[in-house]
């Protein structure tokens, strides 16, 4: 990947800021998401809640499904590949996908290596639970980061934990003396240059979204107030009783995330949220995949 391509890919993520990216499994759902104001959609065969329920091995979606969704909407279309599965990524690049999510939500294909994302022209977003994971993914070529949270649960606690951890680690790096950065790079197992960059800018070098457990407009606004630059919503929309209305409310909540009066209006009468699963009661924590 050339330097210009890398820059353009980071810049596409900048265009997503203060936006909502929604998981969709059919062209019809993609249209609902676009009409509700989603800034992009994530095309997948099953939403995380169903992946979790079905068990087994979860893989990249059928290209036919992805093409159908690309044809249905005019906004950017993303899709997921398994961690380390660079051939699935080659296939998505051939489909001219707008962003690839190398995602812990699918079953990992490689328990050691992530994809060398610098070998691709299309951009990648990756999940992270802390600053070390985020910077390792960026070193591998990711041009956008999201918290892992815990997909398919509707439980926001893990996303909150990951966002707080990341931002508190960024603050620590920002306040260090210059000569302490070498040790910090060693501790976090990341390249020195990226630590230096965080030290100077007090932020990640790429856009950082929240993901994994967002179910309500209040959840979305919570993540924005904690420092997310935008939101991924997976099961939260299409596992609720009124997807179109909830999708619209989440989009508006992300824009008006500091306006409590507006959030009160947006939270009113939008039907049942997804039932959800308490993340302390489940055995498979997807966030533990790919560190």
């Amino acid at each position: 990947m050339t330097e210009i391509r890398q820059k353009l890919n980071k810049e596409l993520a900048q265009m997503f800021k203060r936006g909502v990216i929604m998981d969709v499994t059919t062209p019809e759902q993609a249209k609902i998401a676009e009409d509700a104001g989603a800034c992009a959609v994530m095309a997948l065969e099953r939403i995380p809640a169903d992946i979790r329920a079905a068990g087994g091995v979860s893989r990249m979606s059928d290209p036919k499904l992805i093409k159908g969704i690309q044809a249905a909407v005019s906004i950017p279309v993303m899709a997921k590949v398994r961690i380390g599965h660079f051939v699935e990524a080659q296939i998505l690049e051939a489909l001219e996908i707008d962003y690839i999510d190398e995602s812990e939500v699918l079953t990992p294909a490689d328990d050691v290596y992530h994809i060398d994302k610098t070998q691709f022209k299309v951009p990648f977003v990756c999940g992270a639970r802390n600053l070390g994971e985020a910077l390792r993914r960026i070193a591998e070529g990711a041009t956008m980061i999201r918290t892992k949270g815990e997909a398919g649960t509707g439980d926001i606690m893990q996303a909150v934990r990951h966002m707080r951890t990341m931002n508190s680690e960024i603050r620590q790096i920002a306040y260090m003396r210059g000569d302490e950065l070498y040790e910090a790079a060693k501790q976090l197992q990341v390249p020195y240059d990226l630590i230096r960059c965080v030290h100077e800018s007090s932020r990640l070098p790429v856009v950082n979204f929240a993901a994994g457990g967002v179910a309500t407009p209040a959840d979305a606004a919570l993540m924005m107030q904690l420092g997310a630059e935008g939101i991924f919503v997976g099961s939260g929309i299409f596992k609720s009783s009124n997807p179109a209305k909830r999708a619209e409310a989440v989009v508006q909540a992300v824009t008006s995330y500091q306006d409590a009066k507006m959030l009160a209006e947006l939270s009113e009468d939008i039907g049942e949220a997804m039932v959800g699963i308490n993340t302390e009661e489940i055995s498979t924590l997807m966030a533990e995949r790919g560190k």
Binding site: I4, K7, L8, N9, E11, L12, Q14, M15, F16, K17, R18, G19, E34, D35, A36, G37, A38, C39, A40, S74, I75, P76, E93, E96, I97, D98, Y99, K121, V122, P123, E248, V251, Q252, V254, T255, S256, D259, M262
Partner: protein
């Protein structure tokens, strides 16, 4: 001089830092009541045009901004902002529809079609341009001045108080286009 930057979705922060580096005062527009303060110019940033368009209506900003622009408020729209201003939109619905142009959405295809280039911008000179899933302009009306063309496609236009660009001057590090807009504001 005070410039309002529409901050519903997208790359508004990049415009704010560009304008502030030029000494302009800025504020973010998030809802109707923010428009009660006096300001001299408006920026509609890049982002997703369908999203911004939906939010403009949902937050009741649509009619107010439309009538202010029609009344002469200087405005600069970049990428999605160009689509928001266009009277006609190919591959989408018109939003504010104050500018006599046709915006062609996703004129360069998907993200693999995004690119950088350097091209002549009328009265400014050679400027760097960043195109991200960019639109282009077709059928500019008689009152529309074409300011820049890339590979036969119109990418920058002006109609009186309105400036629209298919690309992102806020991402290039070159402040001349923002200065051009501030000059427009000063002259109005």
């Amino acid at each position: 001089m005070k410039i309002g930057v529409l901050a519903l979705q997208g790359a508004f922060a990049e415009h704010v830092s560009m304008l502030e580096s030029l000494g302009a005062e800025t504020f973010e527009i998030q809802k109707l009541s923010y428009l009660e303060q006096p300001f001299e110019g408006l920026i509609i940033p890049g982002g997703e045009s369908t999203t911004i368009s939906k939010l403009l209506r949902g937050l009741d900003l649509f009619a107010e901004l439309q009538s202010r622009i029609a009344g002469g408020l200087p405005v600069m729209g970049t990428c999605a902002g160009l689509i928001i201003l266009a009277k006609r939109v190919e591959g989408g619905k018109p939003c504010l529809a104050t500018m006599d142009i046709t915006a062609v959405r996703n004129a360069y295809g998907r993200q693999l079609g995004s690119f950088e280039t350097t091209t002549t911008f009328a009265k400014v000179g050679n400027v760097p341009m960043t195109f991200i899933r960019a639109p282009c302009v077709r059928d500019p009306g008689a009152g529309v001045e074409v300011l820049s063309v890339v590979d036969g496609r119109i990418v920058a236009v002006r109609e009186k108080n309105q400036l629209a660009l298919a690309y992102h001057p806020e991402l290039t590090g070159d402040v001349r286009i923002h200065q051009y807009f501030l000059d427009m504001v000063a002259e109005s």
